[in-house]
Amino acid sequence: MSVLYILVLASIAVAAFFLAAYVWSVRNDQFEDNKGAALRMLQDDEPTKQ
């Protein structure tokens, strides 16, 4: 049953990773402009110069 210790720690570690990802995305202003990203995606890449 001592495998439980590992499992508990692993589950908390995974959840903590997601918390860190969340904090990072907020800090990175990813929620500042909800519409912009959707439109930016529609733009074509610039043609490469010959």
Partner: protein
Amino acid sequence: MPITDTERKTIIIRKEEKDHNCYHCGTPCITNSIAIDDKLFCCEGCKLVFEILNENGLCDYYKLQSHPGLSQIKPTRNDKYAYLDNEAIASKLYSFTDGNNTVVTFYIPGVHCASCMWLLEHMHKLNEGIVESRLNFTSKEVTIRYSQNKISTRQVVELLTTIGYEPYISLDDAERKLSRNYNKQRIYKLGVAGFCFGNIMLMSFPEYLSTDLGIEHQYAFLFRILNLVLALPVFFYSASEFFASAWAGLKQKILNIDAPIVLALIITFSRSIYEIATNTGSGYLDSMTGIVFFMLIGRIVQERTYQSISFHRDYKSYFPIAVNVVTPTGIETRNLQDLKERDIVEVYNEELIPADAIIIKGTGRVDYSFVTGESEPVTIETGKMLYAGGRQKGEKLVVQVLKPVAASYLTSLWNHNAFTKDKADNNNRDSIIHKLSKYFTVILMGMAAVTAVYWAINDPAKILPSVSAMLIVACPCALLLAATYTNGNLLRILSDNGLYLRDATVIEQLGNIDHIVFDKTGTLTQDSNRYSFKGHQLSVEEKGWVYNIAAHSSHPYSKALVNALGIYPASGADGWEEIAGKGVKGRVGANSIWVGSKAFVGIDDMPDGQPAAYIRINEEVTAFYITPVFRESIPQMVPLLAQDYELSLLSGDNNRQEKTLQELFGRKSVLLFEQKPLDKLTYIEHLQQANHKVLMVGDGLNDAGALQQSNVGITLADDINNFTPSCDAILDAGQFGKLPSLLKLARSGRYIIYFSFIISILYNLVGLGISMTGNMSPMIAAILMPLSTLTIVLVTTGAGSLMGLRAGLSLKSK
């Protein structure tokens, strides 16, 4: 059915129109002479933009959306942005600079589609000095990084203007650096609370299912310790704003809703520590973290902010950032704040007069609608006084400043004590939530005392457990949740229907309104009046005669008539005479002309419908009508509102439309004309002293005082992203007709809160009953807490949406 000739013609015309729209902006082309290849343009401006984009290989702009541009018909003055060459002024706009590399953020009102974004983010192709540009589409702000050695700030702004995206730069930008971190802290707190709550729930699960520590003892202890560790950040970090608010309230000797919540949190936390430390139980950490999590969500939902809408603008947002001052050494651009008495300033067409001043050169044709609400532009001769806030329409003026900006007539309104109050703070104090929570706390304390006394007599060992359990269960978090979720849902419904509130405290105020005050110009009416003539048709020559007679009179009807006629050469009149209150007469050549009242022109039978004035040329008579152009929904809406509310109308205009308006508003309503901004404010103050709750609906800077003084000030805006004076709410002018429904919904908010409060009290009674008998187990607490939260969330959102539907509002978000 065969198509008739007229129908065929219309079809053909329609088709032609379609092909003759400007390639750049889509405006129908008046001439077809401005063209490149097969592409037509409405003006040289649009053609220029196309040429610039074409040269730089940026024509993808037109592929993302057809006609994406903005019409360039209105040209901008060449040296409009000369003031940006003055480094002291320009540097106020920078968010970063090292002397060369500079970052600037501009607000660009014209941004509206994918093409806009594409072009603004490809500005580096137009000028190599621009390193990078990035657009925040939601807030319409473009952040540009450029090298000052290669391109000046003025050139950047002029480049934006040339391609059709003129930034809006105002005094406000210079004084205030944008801070965007307003509620990020709360979002972090929510994340932390969610993480801890979820994990604590998982670890508490074995405990719920086992009655007598069915899991092995070592794990039970591990889980409890982990729970405690996870609860620490929730208690000390996520819940910190509740502590701060409760403490702030206590310092002012106010028992706000956060006080009993904080009490419950502290007791729950310390009892949980005690139980875990003594190994007597697992505590209530799951409930505690859960409630913090849900309360934070409620607060976030309630405090939704609308990016790109600002509720806190004063005159500074309207005024230019700098002005052209004439000095002995030439023209110098100067900061608006540095403008001193006796400075000589140039004011161009369409520019605001920055300070109270006297005209030295030129004739002013000034639109004061900003300041007074009077819709007709006023002609002001050289040597006469001008007031700050008027907009010059016509030739360039040279004026001498009489008072510095902050002391001018318009801006002195902001020194009134109505502007020193914090309305959100006042609203909060009046809120029913805080009144309810006060009673709640007192009753709760009483019951805790009764329980303590009871157990002291029967079984003293149970005092602490039962009293603490009671305080935990009776935490008024349900009340807070009810209020925040109700408000959050109502805010959403209101904004979907075009009413944007500054914050949630406005909802309750809006529900208490019993008197509505309207501004006239710009609010009830569109900006212009409709003019019409009946009777004798005036020829062009005759119009010229009438013009010459009426132009010299300063009576508002004469001014309106001059406006309606258009501009004619001045030829002078013989025997010109004005009889006050009656009319003007005179002769042009051999023709006698009268303009004035029925008796004055000397006629008796003419078409009625209350013409403003009669015109008589020799024996021919024409009637002149001025009709206000009401906004579409006004004629139906005003009588509807008159059933439930007292109405008043305050107009900066003269009373020429009084009859029409009195019919519309009904006998009981008060109509006041020629109201100055301060008069409007005082009128509202009087109503409030008579215990009325006043809603002010206005639109311009001239209403700013009244909007601030009123209990709720709504600004009507044709474009919600436009610049509106400081107010509590902004209403999309297209949705004006929904105002009665919106008010009804706001009123129902209070009942929804009462209703969910009763539900939460029922839950509390059940919980209290269990804990008073000393039987509360973590399992029951863990079920009751989420269940009551869920019920309240469902009830508040469901009831809000139902009320919205019943009031005839749409629930679909745009």
